[in-house]
């Protein structure tokens, strides 16, 4: 049943929007992807790019009255967005679970860790008291919480930050989900702790042959852990590729900017990290142009008037189209037209969106001078 290539999750053209005073805010715009059993998909993007809304859309957790979610989310053959509430409740916590950035706010501060574990065990597995307790202790042990028996009686605030995060992971994994959505699970932790928690997640994924959506704003976090990576910008996927490929041959200037802003050990000391000038836009209505154009060193007139769609990379080696390398850019890196666009902008001193090329710094625009 669990063949390695089994398709677990298929997201098709999911769009999530909110009615706001400013108009219809499109937080997730036509996102599609597929996730196979046991795989990790990294979802990367700046703050506000729609990562959390996408995560919540997948489990139909966008409950706001002003929200609208369209598209299809097919998990193990049934459409999450259409299934009856009863089935949805069985799915949540049962076959799919979620963890959050800050366990201090995501766990219930007025309930013991043990109760927060056992309420899931009772709900989904129908375990009795005694079994709940045994299973809970086992779960806490498996995520590396020492003295598990005593910690069942602890409240979240009585644990250290790292232990709290582990407890939240144990709670999410309680009923053995096939899919774990981890929304910035390590952003609140220090570097050593980050590593430990990521390793823990990876180990659990492997042991349970679980699939994982690992959401982060930091490409460094998904490096070496994700099978494929999806880069989000202003609610849209701007690039998707197998992880190795994304790091070695990025096509989208935004991905390139993100890569340049990761600190590396091989950096000579004193090298300034590149930053992407400006901040991501909020999309009201629908996009009719590339939303990255105002911050892009390659922006041309076309980028301001036409929306680039996600296209498969022609050089891609793997034939399987939906899991290959795709990007949404008219002037991508490593192409003649892209290089020409960059050189043209550099000669002109500014991009078509009017951004001076000096804003990118000496190395920020992707091609050495």
């Amino acid at each position: 049943m669990t063949s390695p290539d089994e398709l677990l999750l298929e997201v098709v053209d999911v769009t999530t929007s909110f009615d706001t005073d400013l108009g219809r805010l499109v937080a997730v715009d036509g996102v599609s992807f597929r996730l196979h059993r046991g795989e990790t998909l990294g979802v990367v993007g700046e703050s506000g790019s729609g990562k959390s809304v996408l995560a919540r859309s997948v489990l139909r957790l966008v409950g706001d009255r002003n929200a609208q979610v369209t598209g299809r989310v097919v998990l193990r053959g049934s459409d999450v967005l259409k299934m009856p509430d009863r089935e949805l409740r069985r799915l949540r916590g049962g076959s799919a679970a979620m963890i959050f950035q800050d366990p201090m706010t995501a766990l219930n501060g007025t309930m013991r860790i043990g109760s927060q574990l056992s309420e899931s065990l009772r709900e989904h597995l129908g375990l009795r008291r005694r079994q709940q307790r045994d299973a809970s202790i086992e779960l806490l042990r498996s995520v590396g919480i020492p003295d598990a028996e005593r910690q069942l009686r602890s409240y979240p605030h009585q644990l250290s930050g790292g232990m709290r995060q582990r407890a939240m992971i144990a709670i999410a994994l309680a009923c053995g989900p096939d899919l774990l959505i981890a929304d910035e699970p390590t952003t609140a932790l220090d570097v050593t702790m980050q590593r430990q928690v990521l390793d823990l997640l990876d180990r659990q994924r492997a042991e349970r042959s679980m699939s994982m959506m690992l959401i982060t704003h930091d490409l460094g976090v998904v490096a070496g852990r994700a099978d494929s990576i999806m880069v989000m910008y202003a609610g849209r996927i701007v690039e998707r590729a197998p992880a190795r490929r994304l790091f070695t041959a990025p096509r989208h200037p935004y991905t390139d900017g993100l890569l340049r802003s990761i600190p590396r050990l091989s950096d000579e000391p004193g090298r300034e990290l590149a930053t992407i000038p400006g901040s991501p836009p909020i999309v009201i209505g629908g996009s009719t142009a590339c939303s990255f154009a105002p911050r892009c060193p390659r922006a041309q007139a076309r980028c301001l008037n036409e929306l680039p769609l996600l296209v498969e990379d022609a050089r891609t080696d793997s034939p399987s189209s939906s899991d290959g390398h795709a990007y949404a850019c008219f002037y991508p890196l490593g192409t003649e037209s892209g290089d020409a666009a960059l050189l043209g902008n550099r000669r002109a001193g500014s991009t078509a969106a009017g951004l001076p090329m000096a804003a990118f710094g000496p190395t920020g625009d992707g091609v050495p001078t």
Partner: protein, 324 residues
């Protein structure tokens, strides 16, 4: 770390006892000063203009007005501790006896009214918050504003007109003791309790609704939903309990308002309660009784607030560990 719920909450409660004692002392002193701060001769004030010189002299001796203030306070406080609040010069009845006779009426009225308003307001607030911005929520918000603007005596009149006069379902006035006739007792308490508690419904509802709305937006709720729990469980354990701190505070504060309101309501419904006694004593300038009542009411309000404060640590474990 790892404090047990009861012992943690208990030790926090005990730590607050000295301050409680101090507050009680202050209130008792202020109450005592009631008869001493009045302009002119207290004895004359207590007995009225028509008293004879001998009567006044006897009272001066009785009140030991020649002794220093502090000595008299200590004496008075000691008497109060043993349950002796003096004797009314108007009725000749010991004040303690008068209060004890009427206390059950007021306590029952207050508790029934509080219980009803809590049940109603919690149900409405939870619904309102769960469907925030919806039709019910908007209606309840408007209605609660309206309700807060209606004075309880007006509501009392309306209730009497509709349910007692027009429909004849319930008595308009009077009190039946529970020991005599439990059903009759329930009937006599229901209208006054509604009149007394209606404003509180609005107050409690608004406080709880706004806290619930905030809680429902938190990650902990998304997490609880992502665990596939039932809506009822989420609302009760993951939303209501963490949101109930302000409600508990407000309930403590409003107990004062309920006692104040019972003065009016007991008078309107002719209930033989403590509030009624207060009105009568003031009208008859029966200062000894007023003083005794002030002490009892003051102490009750303080004790109730002490208790509601102690509830915090049961609701939120972070408080009993001193995290907040």
């Amino acid at each position: 770390m790892g404090n047990d719920l009861v012992s943690g909450a208990l030790s926090r409660t005990i730590r607050r006892v000295p301050r409680l004692a101090l507050t009680l002392l202050a209130v008792s002193f202020l109450t005592f000063m009631l008869t001493n701060l009045l302009p002119g001769d207290p004895a004359l004030t207590l007995l009225g203009e028509n008293a004879s010189d001998e009567q006044i002299e006897a009272l001066r001796l009785d009140l030991r007005l020649d002794e220093p203030l502090l000595a008299r306070y200590v004496q008075w406080l000691g008497d109060a501790f043993t349950g002796d609040l003096g004797t009314s010069y108007r009725t000749g009845q010991p004040v303690t006896e008068a209060i004890v006779e009427r206390l059950p009426v007021t306590v029952e009225l207050g508790l029934v009214s509080l219980a009803m308003s809590l049940v109603v307001s919690i149900l409405l607030a939870v619904w309102s918050a769960y469907r925030a911005g919806g039709v019910v929520d908007r209606f309840l918000t408007t209605a609660s504003f309206g309700l807060m603007a209606v004075p309880n005596f007006l509501l009392a009149l309306l209730l009497v007109i509709v349910f007692a006069v027009r429909l004849g379902w319930l008595p308009a006035t009077g009190w039946v003791r529970f020991s005599e006739d439990p059903i009759g007792n329930m009937k006599s308490v229901i209208l006054p309790a509604i009149a007394l508690g209606a404003n509180e419904v609005a107050v409690f509802m608004r406080v709880l609704r706004s806290d619930m709305v905030t809680t429902l937006r938190q990650d902990s709720i998304t997490m609880a939903r992502s665990k596939g729990l039932s809506t009822r469980r989420i609302l009760l354990f993951h939303a209501f309990r963490p949101s109930s701190l302000s409600l508990v505070t407000i309930v403590g504060v409003q107990v004062g308002a309920i006692i104040g309101g019972s003065v009016i309501i007991e008078t309107m419904f002719a209930l033989p309660g403590v509030g009624r006694l207060l009105v009568d004593s003031i009208a008859e300038r029966d200062l000894i009784t007023v003083q005794g009542l002030a002490l009892v009411i003051g102490v009750s309000v303080i004790l109730v607030n002490f208790l509601t404060d102690s509830l915090y640590s049961f609701i939120d474990p972070r408080i009993r560990d001193g995290d907040r």
